[in-house]
């Protein structure tokens, strides 16, 4: 739609409405697609936003929908309460550390895999690897947690049994309960689950590079590594920047692998909570379990504001630095 108005705007200003409708009619199928998406956003993303109001009010669920508007205004009370919570430091640290770890490991992983795959000449092998690597994306986290239990539990876990059997360890590793293992477990499983999926996009970007560039480079005597460095990477740059911006925008949710909540919720327990409790699970607990919607809304609002700031600033930096940006 934006594109469309821009185009109409570019034609002379005197062009009248009739012409606009003519164009509109011509593109009606396209508009239908865009329209559906916009209605979706309007209904599910914009309309519920009025609920943010309750972050500043003493809202109680029993007062119904009216309560959002009628409840007593308490200003920043809930925000202050969150900041003064005894767990505040821990859960904010956990959220940030987990998110950064995921960006650090989960972002480069699919790029590397895509480059490696693009260099494989045996098509059967390439397809096999690709299929196997993106399969886990379709497994839900609940199932992954179950699988992890079967592999890693101290009692029935396959891995522990194998390591014990081989005599490599003399005591089962308590990967699922020890707080020291949680970050590694979360990052590792997220990379395993989503790496293959994101590889698809980077492979598409590589496929879009003109093959004549490679031929020319080869004639000029560039080796394989040189070709990757000077052709493949620059060719992927636009895609990488866009993905990076989106990753940073959603960093608090876990970046492009986006699973902070699911992991902390499913792998978290009372023993590893010092490292597994994050802002989202905390908000879920106080919000839903204890029915304190105002408080939970305030917590999530803080998070959303941080995310918006991050996405705008990363977009700005990307535009300055590389010329390609999201908007």
């Amino acid at each position: 739609m934006e594109l469309d108005t821009r185009v109409t705007g570019m034609t002379e200003k005197e062009k009248t409405r009739t012409q606009f409708w003519k164009r509109f009619k011509k593109q009606k199928t396209l508009h239908l697609f865009v329209g559906l998406g916009m209605i979706f956003l309007l209904v599910f993303a914009y309309t519920p936003m009025y609920g943010i109001l309750m972050a500043f009010k003493q809202y109680s669920i029993s007062s119904g929908i009216k309560g959002i508007f009628m409840s007593e205004w308490v200003g920043l009370k809930h925000f202050k309460e969150f900041v003064n919570d005894y767990q505040f430091g821990t859960i904010v640290r956990n959220t940030l550390v987990l998110s950064l770890l995921k960006v650090f490991f989960a972002f480069p992983a699919p790029i590397v895999l895509a480059v490696l795959l693009s260099e494989v000449k045996n098509m059967t092998f390439k397809r096999l690897v690709q299929t196997i690597s993106y399969m886990p994306h379709f497994i839900s986290w609940v199932v992954v947690a179950g699988i992890a239990f079967a592999f890693l539990s101290t009692d029935v876990g396959m891995v522990n049994k194998a390591l014990l059997g081989l005599g490599l360890i003399d005591k089962p590793l308590d990967v699922l309960t020890n707080p020291n293992y949680f970050w590694g477990l979360a990052t590792g499983s997220a990379v395993w689950k989503e790496m293959g999926w994101w590889t698809i996009i980077f492979l598409a970007a590589i496929a879009g590079i003109n093959p004549s560039l490679y031929e020319a480079a080869q004639i000029d005597g560039a080796g394989r590594l040189a070709r990757i460095r000077h052709i493949t990477f620059p060719g992927m740059q636009g895609t990488i920047v866009v993905v990076l911006i989106l990753t940073i925008g959603s960093i608090l949710g876990g970046g492009l692998v986006g699973s902070n909540f699911e992991q902390s919720f499913l792998f978290g327990n009372s023993i590893n909570s010092p490292t597994s409790e994050i802002v989202q699970t905390y908000a879920f607990k106080v919000g839903l379990k204890d029915g304190r919607f105002s408080y939970a809304a305030a917590i999530d609002l803080i998070q959303s504001v941080i995310s918006v700031i991050l996405i705008f600033s990363s977009n700005f930096i990307a535009r300055r630095a590389s010329g390609s940006s999201l908007f």
Binding site: G51, T154, S259, E262, Q303
Partner: protein
């Protein structure tokens, strides 16, 4: 030029895919508050409107179809306890209740403790809700019908004794439920065959192993520790003590003379304080920490989310002692026997310490709520009235008269089955349909001359002190005090595990001190002040 276009198209499609991915990824966490609260609101405003409709419509549509009219009316029931052993309305007891009341239930058992709060939030409530954890929350005129209103309207002859009503009356003057499993001190004293319910802690130990160790006596906590040490030395592959996830604290709290659970109140010299500040509490925590440091319990035990794991350890022969309820030895023995095992479990005495003290401040276990979404409040209250009748109470608790039990003129039922045989009890639907019942009737189910459970309960009855006034310190939903208490309890839930799993006793003590300090920071003193006021106001209820 052309390539540029291709790049644009690629970029655009990329953006689209990724926004979708983003939305689906973020949806998990961000959606929670936005959507659920939203639908919750609409749900609630609907119920508001339906209030009157439901009441005025009900008599016309349904009062004309009593029990006999062939088709039984189906009501939906949500049970807010994921461990609940019966999951379907079937078996002789359920059939008999349907025959008598014309009601059958469509049962849903919770998958976790967040499901009911979620249902409240989304306004998606069934006809009836049976809960213990959310009694405060459900006692709200926006969510449930007050029983007093329904009784005066539809069942004027449904008589409930004044103490039970007083206990459950909220600040708005209504009562929304009456908990089961409750008996006053007088009622208990008058019924010597009512020995108590399953809901009391106990430890069972392997008899054969104890014998191999030369039958060391277990009369004190130290004896017990010694035996666990011997087990660990002699059977290194065995877990000395396995604990049910919901029964980790109760037994030893009693032994150390702690009154009440971690989230409860205790009273001394007419003053009320929060249980974690009792002097005995520190000793309890030190002991639990010692159990862990000595390697007698598994750290994992504190992370179990499934209440069957401990049973598996015990009945597959991988654990020496099994901590659960007073019926643990009997029910483990049945399971072992059915599986072809040859060893047996024996209960430890209910008291292995001179300090042992059990304070019953209980107001009962769980109660049934008739929600505002109920399609037939009249039939619902009459259904509960039947369950509350003498006939109904015995039917739910003991089974079908004649088939499952006959009345002994001494004042207790002669059961024709073993009440510890969980499979039999559950498949026949005995006991668990106690949506309305009382502690006296329930206490009789445990009276089986000769059973280990009966013995353990009678021992326990001897050192139980009754302070039901403490139970009256009840929080009103949405009050500031409720928020403080919820936060403190949540904090304790997190911190206590750190104390149990501390690397040294000094660390345990420090963590305990820190926990109390945290509680004070959250507002413990304010909560305690409020509790004392409420306590002074309400304690006269029990004075005659």
């Amino acid at each position: 030029m052309n390539r540029n276009k291709g790049k644009k198209a690629l970029l655009l499609s990329l953006v689209l895919i990724m926004t979708m991915a983003l939305m689906s990824a973020c949806g998990g966490s961000n959606g929670n508050n936005g959507t659920s609260s939203n639908s919750g609101n609409s749900g609630n405003s609907n119920t508001g409107q339906k209030d009157n409709e439901g009441v005025s419509n009900a008599p016309e549509t349904t009062s004309e179809q009593p029990a006999k009219s062939g088709e039984a009316e189906e009501l939906s029931l949500f049970i807010d306890a994921s461990w609940y052993p019966v999951k379907e309305w079937k078996g002789p007891v359920a059939e008999k209740i349907t025959e008598k009341t014309g009601i059958k239930l469509k049962v849903t058992v919770a998958t976790d403790d967040k499901q009911l709060p979620l249902m409240i939030a989304s306004g998606d409530l069934p006809d009836l809700v049976f809960t213990n954890a959310n009694i405060d929350r459900m006692s709200d005129s926006k969510l449930s019908y007050p029983w007093n209103e329904l009784i005066s309207k539809y069942a004027p002859d449904f008589k409930i004794d004044p103490i039970r009503i007083a206990i459950h009356t909220m600040d708005d003057g209504n009562f929304y439920t009456v908990r089961n499993s409750f008996a006053t001190q007088e009622e208990v004293a008058q019924n010597k065959y009512s020995v108590g319910s399953d809901g009391n802690p106990g430890i069972a130990v392997r008899e054969d192993i104890l014998q191999e160790l030369g039958n060391p006596p277990i009369n004190t906590i130290d004896d017990f520790m010694k035996v666990l040490g011997m087990v660990k030395a002699k059977y290194p592959d065995m877990i000395p003590l396995i604990m049910d996830k919901d029964w980790i604290e109760q037994y030893f709290l009693t032994q150390f003379g702690v009154e009440g659970l971690l989230d409860g109140w205790y009273e001394r010299d007419g003053k009320v304080d929060y249980a974690i500040r009792q002097p005995e509490m520190l000793e309890f925590f030190k002991f639990m920490n010692r159990l862990y440091r000595e390697g007698y319990i598994l750290a994992e035990n504190f992370a179990y989310t499934n209440d069957q794991i401990d049973d598996q350890y015990a009945t597959s022969g991988k654990a020496f002692a099994h901590m659960h309820t007073v019926s643990v030895a009997d029910s483990d023995n049945v399971k072992v026997k059915n599986a072809g095992g040859s060893y047996t479990f024996r209960m430890l005495p209910s008291s292995i310490s001179t300090n042992a003290k059990a304070v019953s401040s209980g107001l009962g276990f769980a109660g049934t709520f008739i929600t505002k979404k109920n399609k037939d409040p009249e039939a619902s209250i009459k259904f509960l009235q039947y369950l509350a009748s003498d006939e109904g109470k015995k039917l739910t608790m003991f089974g079908v008269e004649g088939e499952h039990w006959t009345w002994n003129d001494e004042g207790y039922p002669n059961l024709k089955y073993d009440p510890s045989d969980a499979d039999f009890v559950n498949s026949n639907g005995i006991k668990w349909w106690y949506l309305y019942n009382d502690g006296v009737t329930e206490g009789m189910l445990s009276y089986v001359p000769g059973a280990q459970k009966t013995k353990a309960l009678m021992e326990r009855k001897a050192f139980t002190v009754y302070k039901p006034e403490l139970g009256l310190i009840q929080l009103q939903p949405d009050s500031d005090e409720k928020t403080i208490k919820t936060k403190i309890d949540e904090m304790i839930k997190n911190e206590k595990v750190k104390i149990y799993l501390a690397k040294s006793e000094a660390e345990a003590v420090a963590t305990y001190a820190n926990m109390v300090k945290n509680a004070e920071k959250i507002g413990l003193d304010r909560l305690v002040d409020w509790a004392n006021q409420t306590y002074q106001k309400k304690k006269d209820l029990f004075k005659k």
